[in-house]
């Protein structure tokens, strides 16, 4: 038994969370540095996972398997495929930035030396806890294990959304608190509802496997094997119901239209780093799970549901973009833009082509980075002015050019400018969809025009024009803030120009997923590559 690398990757932030929470009340700075170091350590571990992962090797690597609840066939099974490696990497990468960006977000308003209340410690501990849970959700190959952490994630997220909001709010502190708790409860209820339906499906899956295999199991690998050996043949209607149960939970998390309304509230009311945590990290579990569990466990039902899901994804794309155009609140605008982007991801997954699914996986990573860059800059902006309303800004470019520049690059990444990472993934998704569903592909392409509209309108209203009163003394980005944003921008450019390392890891995994579903890429009508390649 070799060193349990995957367990370590998930356990380190969890232990870090405990340690951070235990730091005494007055040693806030220690807690911050501790959290940052732990997140960096996790990043190192994730990097080791990525290095030790062999793209051309077995489907699941670095596996660990132990019996857990033997009576119900629940096992503690971890393993990574290329998709999981990419997403664990994304999570481990973003958390240090989130922590650094939220450095002062949880400082107590007034110094109280005697207070036993430790918001700062709690804030960073909760972030690390979320990281641990997200990582283990990506690593789990046991459905039940996955389910537990998929749901448990809600608890720290609930506190992060409800407990730590923006300092300033246009309607005053009391109203801010009310809005915040509304957003947190809404987040919790939506995701809980999805999760409970999934629980029913998880139990149903157990019933089916125990019925057909003799002993029930939740192990993804076992189920895939049994399916390949034709030992397991779920009845069509049962499979569809189970699929819907799983998909519903993931669609809430993703979020897919019309289950999206929690996201704008949650992102709007939480601080920018937490908004990034929601949309760039936690929500990715939903789309990841669609790719791993929905397609892997229920291939036939996935095919059956594809048309409806594609239409929903398409609605998300266009609807999210249109609503983003109509927003007056910067953070809500980004939230709706994210809904549009999640539409792209879901569309790529269910296009059932290698381009679509590789694109969707890249999209998850790239959307994480680009949203983080944009949202964190917006957070810095909001923390300076104390307002989230677009109308309160104007001419920032003149007083804070670096801020405006990074904002613009983040925005351009959001609108998928070629040369930046999101373009690669978005185009792959579009091509992948178009190859099989031309009409849907074309309509989805309209999304790129709408993306330009909402990003540039936002930029124009906030950054250009005459300087709005109250902004004359707006300070430009500080060193800490530049240090947060610059690597993200470098990554955006790097992955936009040379995404090959990532695609090399992801492609074989997508190949496995596609063969699970039994789909092959459509062939071009007149293959023109013959002599050329």
């Amino acid at each position: 038994m070799s060193f349990p690398l995957l367990t370590a990757t998930a356990a380190l932030p969890a232990l870090g969370a405990v340690a951070t929470a235990a730091v005494p009340a007055e040693k806030r700075t220690v807690a911050k540095w501790l959290a940052l170091l732990v997140s960096l350590g996790t990043l190192v571990l994730a990097a080791i996972v990525a290095i030790r992962f062999d793209p051309d090797g077995a489907r699941f690597q670095l596996t660990e398997s132990h019996a857990w609840i033997a009576d119900f066939g629940v096992r503690y099974e971890l393993g990574v495929d290329g998709i999981a490696v990419a997403l664990v990497g994304l999570t481990a990468l973003l958390i240090p930035f989130i922590i650094a960006a939220g450095w002062h977000d949880a400082d107590p308003l007034a110094e109280k030396t005697t207070s036993r209340w430790r918001p700062t410690q709690g804030f960073f501990a909760l972030i690390l806890l979320v990281e641990a849970m997200v990582v283990i959700s990506f690593l789990a190959t046991d459905v039940f294990l996955f389910y537990i952490f998929f749901e448990a994630m809600l608890i720290p997220m609930y506190f992060l959304i409800g407990g730590f909001g923006d300092r300033a709010h246009q309607h005053g502190e009391e109203e801010a608190g009310r809005q915040r708790s509304y957003a947190a409860v809404k987040f919790l209820l939506y995701n809980l509802a999805g999760g409970l339906i999934m629980l029913a499906a998880v139990i149903g899956l157990y019933a089916v496997t125990s019925d057909q295999l003799g002993s029930g199991t939740f192990s993804l690998q076992e189920i895939l094997q049994a399916r390949a050996d034709r030992d397991l043949d779920i009845a069509t209607s049962t499979e569809r119901w189970l699929f819907l149960g799983f998909f519903f939970a993931f669609a809430v998390k993703a979020p897919l239209w019309p289950l999206h309304t929690w996201l704008p509230n949650a992102m709007g009311e939480s601080t920018a780093p937490i908004a990034v945590l929601i949309t760039a990290v936690v929500d990715k579990v939903g789309t990841f799970a669609m790719l791993r569990f929905c397609l892997g466990l229920f291939p036939e039902a996935s095919q059956w549901a594809t048309p409806v899901i594609l239409v929903l994804a398409l609605i998300s794309i266009v609807y999210g973009a249109l609503l983003a155009v109509g927003q007056r609140d910067i953070k809500r605008l980004i939230a709706f833009a994210s809904i549009s982007h999640f539409g792209f991801i879901v569309m790529g997954i269910f296009a059932m082509t290698s381009q679509g699914q590789s694109g969707a996986t890249l999209y998850m990573v790239n959307h994480g980075i680009s949203t983080a860059a944009l949202m964190l800059v917006i957070g810095f902006l909001i923390s300076r002015r104390g307002s989230r309303l677009i109308a309160d800004y104007g001419g920032v470019q003149k007083v804070a050019p670096v801020l405006a520049g990074t904002f613009l690059i983040g925005g351009l990444a959001t609108l998928s400018l070629p040369g930046l990472a999101p373009f690669v993934s978005e185009f792959l998704v579009l091509v992948g969809t178009f190859a099989r569903y031309p009409v849907i592909g074309i309509i989805a392409t309209v999304g790129i025009v709408l993306a330009a509209v909402y990003v540039l309108v936002l930029y124009q209203r906030t950054m250009t024009g005459p300087v709005k009163s109250g902004l004359e003394k707006l300070p430009d980005l500080r060193v800490r803030e530049v240090l947060v944003v610059a690597p993200l921008i470098a990554l955006l450019i790097g992955l936009g120009v040379y995404p090959k390392p990532l695609t090399d890891i992801v492609n074989p995994a997508v190949g496995h997923t596609l063969s699970d579903v039994g789909e092959k890429d459509p062939k071009p009508e007149h293959d023109a590559r013959g002599g050329d390649k």
Partner: protein, 633 residues
């Protein structure tokens, strides 16, 4: 040699990176760095060009594969370059004119505190534009395509503190995005049809795909070209784009970027050759824009907007030629190059005039400037002669060939497009003469600026006049040189095909040339009658309905505003409302219903033990009933 291709792009890209990230330290020297790198790139271009000349016509194309960009399954996008004669032409035009305009900007932007950033953006533009023309596949071309869009966005909105500039920049980008939509779909179509989107295999096998597929691809490419080259119906951004600094208008919105659409169509010639319907669409778009731009150009009093209308119209010529098929490709490119010279020269002249006139752009407030700015007057005048097709200047050759090619199409189409081209030539002569007369002739109509100072027109500094002189020389001589022994035609033949010599029916070339010259003379005469003989009123007269409409860009902006902007606003607003009330409302409604029901149910829980006991007792009764019932059944 192949490695030099990459350096072509790398030099200005490095400049952009250094200038934009370098910070204030580079404020004093940055502009020279940017200019130097532009010239360096031009030097690379020249080296490659001489190397290319040393080879046989068919083997001149260079290929350079840098690395695999996005490999996913069958989707193999590479970062690879292809430098053939067509690309080479563009490289020289871009780096040559680009370098001159860099030089010009050193003087023009001297007093702008953000000059360093301006040069960064200019370098970024050069890099993107070069990438566009040397890419060897459509996806990489797309990167350059959007890259120039970005640079254009940044440069139009360079004076972002002016809301009009910011709005114009945004508008340009969004309208271009509509065009990009077309390019995206075209690439996707190519991928599904051919399994690749590299120029080589796609264009070589274009004939294998059916006509309908090719038509679809062609129309999508046309949409892309319309966006980038400001062709009807996506032309509305170009006039507003004049909010940018004048060197930007000269480089991006006259000489290079806006001609990218023409490049795209000519590059994809093989596709259009197989899709006659798409070709017709291209010609229609070109012809309509040709007239549209010319009419708008006649009505504008803003010198830059007038030139913008002219640009639109001239690119209309090129698109029209590109739509004619292999016959027209060479002439489209030739007109593109000569247009690059004279239009850039004209813009630089306009910039020089504005520089001397306290940034006044209204031609009605100019007048009699020829004495005060002799160099500008001469260079502008030469550019003017070139554009109206004055015999033996560059515009004469390129436009004349273009009109011939249009007539050579034969049949009704040939006559229609030929006549449109001739009509366009007359209108061009009219509005350019009007511009010339209003600016340099007549009496002074100068107005004090907002500080109450009358302008003191003066000649611009050397950094500005030298590029103007060089460009003027180009506008005079380029056409003649290109036409010498059909040199330009033979140069491009390997790329565009050899069919230009074989006109389908014998044409009376002298007659056409004669008509073109006559049209030009008529236009000049009419303008002289209207603006030369009588003094120009300092306030624009009302004019007739057509003038009114032309001043408003033939109402296209108004239509856009009503249909797209207003409609979009209403749509988004109602969607926001719907999202809140309906989508969210359903969920909140469910929650409210459950809450309400719970409120009712809660009353049952009244806290009295006896009340609970009743329910227990009732439950027991029900259990007995159930047991009895089950036994009975």
């Amino acid at each position: 040699m192949e490695s030099l291709i990459g350096l072509l792009v790398a030099a200005p890209l490095l400049g952009a990176a250094v200038l934009l990230c370098g910070g204030r330290r580079l404020d004093r020297t940055g502009h020279w760095l940017g200019t130097g790198l532009a010239f360096l790139s031009f030097a690379f271009g020249l080296v490659l060009f001489t190397d290319m000349l040393g080879k046989d016509g068919e083997h001149r194309a260079l290929h350079s594969h840098l690395f695999s960009w996005v490999p996913v399954g069958d989707f193999q996008a590479d970062v690879a370059f292809q430098l053939d004669q067509l690309s080479m032409t563009f490289v020289l035009l871009i780096t040559g004119v680009g370098s001159l305009i860099h030089l010009y900007s050193v003087g023009y932007m001297e007093h702008d505190e953000r000059r360093r950033r301006f040069f960064g953006y200019l370098n970024l533009f050069l890099a993107a534009m070069l990438l566009l023309v040397i890419a060897d596949n459509y996806l990489l071309l797309y990167v350059g395509w959007e890259g120039v869009g970005l640079a254009s966005y940044l440069l139009i909105g360079f004076w972002q503190h002016k809301p009009s500039a910011a709005t114009a920049a945004k508008k340009a980008f969004i309208v271009n995005r509509v065009g990009d939509f077309g390019l995206s779909v075209a690439i996707m179509l190519m991928f599904t049809t051919f399994g690749t989107f590299a120029f080589g295999p796609v264009l070589a096998n274009a004939t294998e795909a059916g006509e309908s597929k090719l038509t679809a691809i062609g129309l999508m490419l046309l949409l892309a070209a319309c966006g980038k080259s400001a062709q009807v119906p996506l032309q509305s951004w170009l006039g507003d784009a004049m909010e940018g600094p004048t060197p930007v208008s000269a480089l991006i919105h006259a000489a290079t970027m806006v001609t990218a659409g023409v490049y795209l169509i000519v590059r994809s010639g093989a596709i259009f050759n197989g899709a006659p319907d798409a070709q017709t669409a291209v010609m229609v778009v070109g012809a309509v824009t040709l007239l549209f731009g010319a009419i708008v150009g006649c009505a504008k009093d803003d010198i830059k907007k007038g030139l913008a209308g002219s640009t639109m119209s001239q690119i209309g010529y090129m698109v029209l030629a590109a739509g004619l098929g292999p016959i027209g490709y060479v002439f489209a490119i030739m007109h593109l190059v000569t247009h690059g010279f004279f239009k850039a020269g004209l813009f630089l002249g306009a910039g020089s005039v504005m520089h001397g006139m306290n940034d006044e752009v209204d031609m009605r407030k100019y007048g009699g400037l020829r004495k005060y700015m002799p160099v500008t007057f001469v260079t502008f005048g030469l550019g003017y002669l070139a554009i109206i097709g004055f015999p033996f200047l560059s515009g004469f050759y390129s436009k004349d060939h273009l009109i011939e090619a249009a007539f050579a199409r034969g049949a009704t189409q040939g006559w229609i497009f030929g006549s449109v081209a001739l009509l366009g030539a007359a209108i061009t002569a009219f509005y350019m003469t009007r511009m010339m007369l209003m600016t340099f002739f007549g009496e002074k109509r100068w107005q004090p600026d907002e500080n109450g100072e009358l302008p003191h027109p003066h000649e611009s500094p050397k950094t500005m006049t030298i590029p103007m002189v060089i460009l003027a020389a180009g506008s005079v001589a380029a056409g003649f040189i290109f036409n010498l022994g059909e040199r330009f035609v033979h140069w491009l033949e390997p790329v565009t095909g050899y069919e230009h010599g074989h006109l389908p029916e014998p044409l009376n070339v002298p007659l056409i040339t004669g008509s073109a010259v006559t049209a030009m003379v008529l236009g000049v005469a009419l303008a002289w009658v209207k603006y030369g003989r009588r003094p120009v009123p300092a306030v624009a007269p009302r004019g007739n309905a057509l003038t009114w409409a032309a001043r408003r860009d033939l109402l296209q902006d108004d239509v856009n505003h009503v249909v797209l902007v207003r409609g979009g606003e209403h749509l988004t607003r109602s969607l926001v409302y719907l999202d809140h009330k309906v989508v969210d409302g359903v969920v909140n409604g469910t929650a409210a219903t459950v809450g309400g029901l719970s409120g009712r149910m809660r009353r049952v829980q009244n806290g009295f033990v006896r009340s609970y006991a009743v329910s227990m007792f009732g439950g027991a009764a029900v259990l007995i009933a159930a047991t009895l019932f089950m036994r009975a059944v």
